[in-house]
């Protein structure tokens, strides 16, 4: 899906219907998305004005509307990107060779890094999802929720194996993935919002702690088989 700019008129251009104009349009679209995202991350969705976005993207306000029909649509574009990225973290994690523990460890450090870099973006999105009705068109919302679900399903996959998860027969693995995700987000909230993120560069300790709690629990191991 990459565009190759064969300007000298090679035949390959027949198989490449994306013109320069189209490419420039796309590039500008990405530019706007990028600017909007920066501001949403920093200030939240509702508290970011279109004028700010336009100024930050170095476009006129009217221009934004040549690319996105509304502020909501712009936001949906960003959600799309984000969901893709999070899903990528999931897929990357379960591709790790080894047992479920190692996959979850990778997922944990992936998410922590992502939240560190993207601030409250995920939180803002979850907040919007939370309150379906008013803000965002409902069918689009369903679609987004489905994608969130898909992420959990990917994570749950290694947990369906009884050798990886003593509760495999007892409860829904997706439920467990949700709990793991909850711990992660709880950690991130606590670390980056409550305590004022004092420049700790390495979060692998945290990822390991969370994974360890999830798989081994915090109780002293007794010798019951």
């Amino acid at each position: 899906m990459k565009d190759h700019t064969d300007q000298a008129g090679q035949d390959s251009s027949l198989r490449e219907p994306i013109s320069r104009k189209e490419r420039e349009k796309r590039a500008r679209e990405m530019e706007i998305l990028k600017a909007a995202r920066d501001l949403f991350v920093a200030n939240g969705f509702r508290e970011t004005t279109l004028d700010e976005i336009a100024r930050h993207a170095e476009f006129g306000k009217g221009t934004i509307y040549n690319y996105f029909a509304s502020k909501e649509e712009l936001f949906l574009g960003i959600i799309d990107q984000t969901m893709d990225e999070v899903l990528a973290i999931c897929n990357d994690a379960i591709a790790v060779p080894g047992d479920a523990r190692e996959k979850f460890l990778r997922y944990a450090s992936g998410v922590i890094r992502y939240v560190k870099e993207n601030g409250e973006l995920l939180h803002v999105i979850y907040h919007e999802l939370h309150r379906g009705s008013s803000t965002v068109n409902v069918t689009k919302l369903r679609e987004i929720l489905d994608r969130a679900r898909r992420g959990w399903e990917v994570l749950a996959r290694p947990l369906t194996d009884a050798t990886q998860n003593r509760l495999a027969g007892t409860c829904d693995p997706v439920q467990l993935a949700v709990l793991f995700d909850g711990m992660l987000r709880g950690y991130c909230f606590h670390r980056f919002s409550i305590e004022g993120s004092q420049q700790v560069e390495d979060y692998s300790d945290a990822a390991e702690l969370i994974t360890s709690v999830f798989f081994d629990g915090i109780a002293e191991r007794t010798h019951e088989g």
Copy 2:
């Protein structure tokens, strides 16, 4: 600083500085808080207008301002109530006789019930906390965060005992309480927001699952001592 209008001159009124007027004022104040809370729970903070609150409380809009200086102050009043209630759940939980596991089980079912009854109130509050700067006066915000912290500290207390927590020496028990809380909120988000809360009346299963994961982990127990 209370005015005591002991009109009939009984001696007992000396020991009772709250006049009828004062009581009625307080009652009306609570009435307004209740109405505002209903709407915030249903629709969120920003999306609730003062006109709606006034209409729902059956007062004129101007009257609201005789009791609260601003919409923000009204919201802070609700946060105060909520923090008290959550702290009460914490204290109730650690008062349960038995080991840490039983206390946490109580906490879990308390929180799940609370979220079920109060909808996204907690989420709305956390969302506002998240984005300190703009919305809410900063010193007040610090105070609120401190109260959240205090809840975790209460929960962490039984975890400082090494017989209750194999990680007692290794990591901060407050951190662990945060993780537990994260699982709870993850669960609630998933149950009440993502999946459309199909009338399940009993959530003790969930509370038990979460507690079990937290204390025992999901890994198959091997016989390593």
